[in-house]
Symmetry: C3
Subunit: 430 residues, 3 copies
């Protein structure tokens, strides 16, 4: 309290213009005390109020624009005072590429160069649109707002974590504040931390003895939340140099409690688990592309509503959809976006149940289902093809060559393997 | 403590008969202090004990009936003193239509009039049975008790929230008290609140600055928990007038913190999401009924154990079962009872992960699976029909007319559309 | 604090050698204060430090071995001082048979004697290997470590619950400490307790008035956590005498708050639910074995990578895998390990949503899917067999006799039933 009062006095000395702002606030508060009593009470108890930062300082004076929702208090408004925080925020994943799915294609060290075309015209670094997430583009306006932007606005909205009118640091130091976005089937970081030894220790002993989201990912209070990370959200590794630097940073944090060698070994184990998970994904993805080569997906991409970014193409990469696809692709979507994420993040966050049961086991069970569905689709396909093969071996070979060509064209076979396998088919009908 | 003692003295002045009850309690306590020490300790620390309300006041004096479980302390026992609370409770969803599945058919503004027959004989408003939930009727006695009645007894049991012997209001002001029923795959209100901005703010800052279940749904401490709601649990809208009134009530609550215009817009967005969700359900439901028209469900309703209320009919409405059905119906059950609920309630409770990933995304993925299963079933059916069509076009047309008639009879086609489509088939074989 | 100091002085009197240990610790701390400040701070605030128990007392003096991870502080190190705790721990499930899957085969009253061969050579009680869990054996080294051993090390690691350097009993009295293992799809005891009336009461009122994991499963602070349990983790009942004793023990705990008759009835209800759940499992298991008899699983066991313990056999018992199996088996794995566990444990833990929705409902929905998949597989099989039956009734009967023989050989038919059904087939072709 004394500290706050001191701060207020200092603020008034440093920014004498605040005195007139105070007058404006009196006008706002007179009315809003009745209209939005909670918001007013929160501001009154805040450090902003104590320092003489009033309504108009953030919202401006144009009441009409405010009412139309046009006078948004975005990150730039906060950054005018909180310069360092904004700079750090802007350098993190929170600040780059999360606005409505940009994260899917930006910020990826080893991104497919073709993916650049989703956002940029050739030879240009300017984005051609502000939204580049295929899943976003498929939703209704309402679902986009509540189901996508509510989290992906973090780039522009400090209120995502700090809430609108309160300045109490207890709010943003509570790991719960991260939960409202970092939860759910696609990235349950909060759930896996909460039930890990780290989280349960925090629950019983407080953050003096237990790591929170903030302590590991925002060391020394930095707003750059991506410090110790070595891969993109999609699991693509950053370049070696950047990766080494990031790992070093994270080990420094772990070493507050653990022996550095132990920390390095644990993190290396999680790296290995990530690689193993990607191998399982690759196997499943190859099955789906093979089915597509054989025209066995149902429906085939050409018989579906076009993908918002790729048209009537099969998309199994970062821009994969979960709707208007075939059953086997939907199984792969779960593997890739839900199971793999749980296995990898569960390992990094030291949660056995997420690493194994929610992650590894589901990943492998989905692979069982994908193989089974593929087998069913192939058998149905074979029923036709086999008859052909008996009646007309030449036509059958022609079909096989076409499938092989597709495989080669999508980059799953190199020149030599293509030519060898082509040879084997031709030999058979010679 | 002083306050409690004052209350005791006041109680003794107002209800002199309590003095003799106290004597009876001494007899109970003498024995139960050893037999159920926890219950006795809870009562002793309660406002009831402080006010001289003893064992016999609620349980009666007939020890034999108590031991047989026949002297239940139900809502009427509590209501004898707590009149207003019981009146408000009785006027809410908690008080009407939740007893073992009544909620499914009662309290629905736009209920199918035929559904009335589940509970009432024609022209009568008296229920013919106390249990009208088909899913309840399929369970064992044990599962009915622990899996259904444990929550659906709320109509008659104040202990559902207040627990048996404690009167501490801290218990019922904690949002956790709602969790023991309002959780799980069919209505995870607690989970979605807990991880929303509202819930996480409550965790870090307490309920002075953050809304709890109670603050929004029991404003001013009312026991009518259904105040601001605009639709039945099944998602059917209440009549316009009632709906407008309810919405106004809820906006008043939101306005404690938010601008009313903002609150209205957020609630309207959730209304839109509900409508969008219902459209997805309708598409899936139509696929299933079409399969039934074509005799392609496996097993068909006539080959299953009869539905407890509808016999050998296909039931996809509120009384739908999750057992003894076909695979495609089971997918629809998940859509309808789990995914749709998460999408809609997740939006109203401002939880992006529930609205989008647990709700919208699952809903659309299940639709992918339903379309795929339907395609598989139709192909198998077509294998037979096509042969027929080539051999005997007249018989094939006859089959199609029969399917069309079923569709008309179940109300999915109006008179004009039926007649037009009939004409097209007949023309083909003329 | 005073108590701690008293303890320190007492300890120094009783163990004068501690004075020199203190000197050694000074050397450790001098360096580790910078290298692992958290660990040092935790130890310094611990009862161990207060009692003069230093680094070397647990870790030894061989720094090289420590750095290599060879000087593990396992249960024996702790047990040297904490004798009674270790004895109780060793007598519980925590102490026997949980090390990397031993739990699956050991400790089962009615275990299949053949299963003994997984661990023992004939006539020997010595284990032949330290690892006997088929699911463990299928994982990578990294997943074994983080996904299996992290929990199953509890036999040898007191730190599993107590953490490494803290001795604060608040940590191990918090139910959260159990969560880091007792959670997830296969045994969500923590989740179901947390949202049960018991858990929510603990949240609002503390453990004076609400039962925690510890209060029911570790009464009077015993380290034998298996006291009141009546069945193995796999749901097999213990022998009658042991079971009766255990139940009595648990009722004593319940009776701290509830009438014993009420507690007995609730526990008996859960017993009944367990039996009902096992019936559903049996139905599903029989379908799978029948499919195997008919060579209809895809892939059949002989076409899969061999099971680590049983080779190319169909395994649906405790050593069942979740990978390299058929789709219908994977559905059964979910039923058995996830749904059944939730239904039974949810009932014992008084959680309606786990008993009914996560348990009973999922169990029955999976049965719907298993029946549907079996029907699909049988139809495909029938397509071939029926043609045979028409062409060659003798060959068809031969096929049926073979299937019947397999069913008899795996014990699903007794001598009389086998002989009767054989007779019926033979009569048909006579």
């Amino acid at each position: 309290m004394t500290q706050r009062m001191l701060f207020s006095i200092l603020a008034l000395i440093l920014f004498p213009s605040l005195a007139s702002a105070q007058a404006a606030d009196d006008a706002c508060v007179a009315c809003h005390r009745d209209r939005t009593p909670g918001a007013v009470a929160q501001w009154q108890a805040s450090g902003h109020a104590a320092a003489g930062i009033g309504c108009a300082d953030c919202h401006g004076n144009d009441h009409e624009r405010i009412e139309q929702g046009a006078a948004k208090v975005d990150a730039d408004v906060c950054g005018a005072c909180h310069e360092q925080a904004l700079r750090e925020h802007a350098a993190s994943r929170h600040g780059i590429g999360l606005h409505s799915g940009w994260g899917c294609t930006r910020n990826q060290a080893q991104a497919d160069p073709e993916a650049c075309g989703f956002c940029h015209q050739e030879q240009s670094t300017l984005p051609v649109s502000t939204v580049h997430c295929a899943r976003f583009l498929k939703q209704t306006d309402e679902m986009r707002e509540v189901g996508c932007n509510r989290c992906h606005q973090v780039q522009n909205s400090c209120a995502s974590c700090h809430t609108n009118h309160q300045t109490d640091l207890a709010i943003v130091r509570d790991p719960g504040v991260c939960a409202s976005c970092h939860m759910g089937p696609d990235h349950p970081q909060w759930e896996m931390w909460q039930t890990s030894v780290h989280g349960t220790l925090y629950q019983s002993s407080g953050d003096a003895f237990a790591p929170t989201c903030q302590r590991c990912h925002m060391p020394s209070g930095t707003h750059n939340v991506s410090g110790g990370l070595t891969a993109t959200p999609g699991g693509m590794l950053y370049p070696e140099a950047q990766r080494g630097q990031s790992r070093k940073q994270m080990v420094t944090v772990c070493a507050e409690c653990h022996a550095p060698a132990f920390a390095r070994a644990e993190l290396a184990r999680a790296d290995a688990v990530r690689t193993q998970g990607r191998e399982l994904l690759k196997e499943a993805e190859a099955i789906i592309h093979d089915l597509a080569d054989r025209n066995l997906l149902e429906p085939m991409p050409e018989d579906r509503p076009p993908h918002p970014l790729a048209g009537n193409q099969l998309v199994t990469g970062p821009q994969m959809l979960y709707e208007d696809i075939s059953h086997v692709e939907r199984l792969f979507f779960k593997m890739k976006k839900f199971d793999y994420a749980k296995m990898v993040k569960g390992t990094f966050h030291q949660n056995p149940a997420y690493a194994h049961w929610y992650g590894n086991a589901e990943l492998k069970m989905d692979l069982v289902d994908i193989r089974s569905e593929a087998s069913r689709l192939r058998q149905r396909g074979a029923a036709t093809v086999q008859t052909n093969a008996e009646d007309d071996p030449l036509a059958a070979a022609e079909g096989e060559l076409l499938i092989l060509k597709k495989k080669f064209e999508r980059g799953a076979l190199d020149e030599a393997a293509y030519s060898e396998q082509k040879g084997l088919i031709l030999e058979r009908v010679r």
